[in-house]
């Protein structure tokens, strides 16, 4: 994670009432939507722990929906997020759930369209900071403090080398790289010091055999849902 600065102390500028239960929830929705990167027809939210217990009084439900609609944590439309989701024909459901040994403020988000289901699990750690801990069953640790790329691919030799060389050619420094593996599928979380352009992103997408690639604020003019 990046170092603490004055923007964390006099900020975030946010919609209340709670940086962990409201602002953090918006960020979780934002980042989950960027990872999903499509238009869902239906979204199910499974709220765990303190999220499950106190979501109504903290507007966590509104915040999560506003998040997947791409609103910022200081957007005054958050209060009316359900109406906005309805207007965009996105069906929203909330459930209370036990997600196991995870942070008390954790949510499992299931996006669905006609083709498939897509799962993102994330926690709000306090002060508006978040951590995505699971993408489609792959264990990850994604804070979204940096421009970040998420890659899932059949595990084989040379991928890390290939990815680093593409980043080096693009002139973007890698801040950190984490790879986890499960059933021969690898998930890479790549944090960058700067953004890459669309051409580099497209080149990356076409030059490696990928199941999945997405950007969390890593491509210039990147759009959410």
């Amino acid at each position: 994670m990046r170092e603490l600065d004055v923007f964390d102390i006099l900020g975030p500028v946010m919609i209340g009432p709670s940086s962990s239960h409201t602002a953090g929830a918006v960020r979780l929705g934002n980042v989950a939507a960027m990872i999903y990167n499509r238009r869902p027809k239906k979204v199910d939210f499974y709220l765990h722990g303190s999220f499950a217990k106190t979501y109504k009084g903290h507007g966590t439900d509104l915040a999560l929906v506003a998040g997947i609609l791409g609103y910022a944590p200081d957007d005054e439309r958050i209060r009316d997020a359900f109406d906005h989701a309805k207007a965009q024909n996105i069906a929203i459901y909330f459930h209370e759930a036990d997600l196991g040994y995870v942070h008390p403020n954790t949510v499992k988000i299931i996006f669905e369209d006609d083709k498939e289901r897509f799962q993102v699990i994330g926690s709000s750690l306090g002060g508006g900071t978040i951590k995505i801990i699971d993408i489609n069953g792959a264990e990850v640790a994604l804070h979204a403090d940096y421009p970040t790329l998420v890659l899932q691919y059949p595990d084989k030799l040379g991928i890390i080398n290939r990815v680093s060389s593409i980043m080096a050619t693009a002139g973007v420094n890698i801040a950190s790289m984490k790879v986890t593996r499960r059933q021969k599928k690898a998930t890479m979380i790549l944090e960058l010091d700067g953004k890459i352009d669309q051409t580099t992103y497209n080149f990356l997408a076409s030059s490696i055999e990928l199941d999945y690639l997405t950007s969390v604020g890593a491509v210039e003019e990147n759009h959410g849902v």
């Binding site: 603490l4 600065d5 102390i9 500028v13 209340g16 009084g57 903290h58 507007g59 002060g127």
Partner: protein, 287 residues
Amino acid sequence: MVYKAVDLLEECKEKQCKISAIMRIEEAEAASITPEELDAWMLDVLEIMDQSSTQGLEEEIFSISGMTGGFAKKVWEHRKSPSLSGEFGLSSMAKALSTSEVNASMGRIVAAPTAGASGILPAALSGAKEKFNLSNEELVPGLYTAGAIGKIIALSATISGADGGCQAECGSASAMAAAALVELMGGAPEQSFHAASFALIHIMGLICDPIAGFVEFPCSLRNASGVMNAYISADLAMAGVESLVPFDEVVEAMYRVGKLLPESLRETALGGIAASDTAKALEEKYL
């Protein structure tokens, strides 16, 4: 990352400058922007603080849970009546309550350092603005100094109620505000740290016991008392009273006290007034 008051004081002495001047240059550099751009950002922050601290004075604002609201307007209307706190004190408390109510209604606030304690610094700065005829531009150094205090606490202790109780949230906000007020009144950097120490000492051990877990009651009241705590702490320091224990050690003490607090007294709504029969009934009704 080590960030201590003692180092900051040393740097102030070396460069013959205020806390705010160091913070301004360092933070702009860290964010890769110019100090002027950071000033502009601070002015935007002040603008949002102005709005949140005045919105609830003329209109009653209710929380989204529906449990609380309208305190700010009541206190504002009472400000000219005969009182012990006086018009200035009542106005300041009303402004702190206003931001707390805007926060609880899902309105826009600046977390300073957290959303739960967001009423204290805006009310204190607004008080200084009124009392000493300052412009928003002249308040900006106060924000930098407040930021420095908050940063020291966040890095060597905690600013989270779930970690350290209310002392870590409203206590930190009061300490930030007290140090800022001293600088705005022309006090020396040492005096800012004495004031910040007093603010933390005054409420050391304060628990976090929100009814039903909502950021409402007693949170808004503790924002109101928090701004008064900042005022008396700043005035004590300006009078020349000195803290026997330096700020870094006061922060460490606050952190240790926070760690000693059982979980029931740290934002879980299981202890303090949140555990009272009446609070349980309210929880039943509004949760």
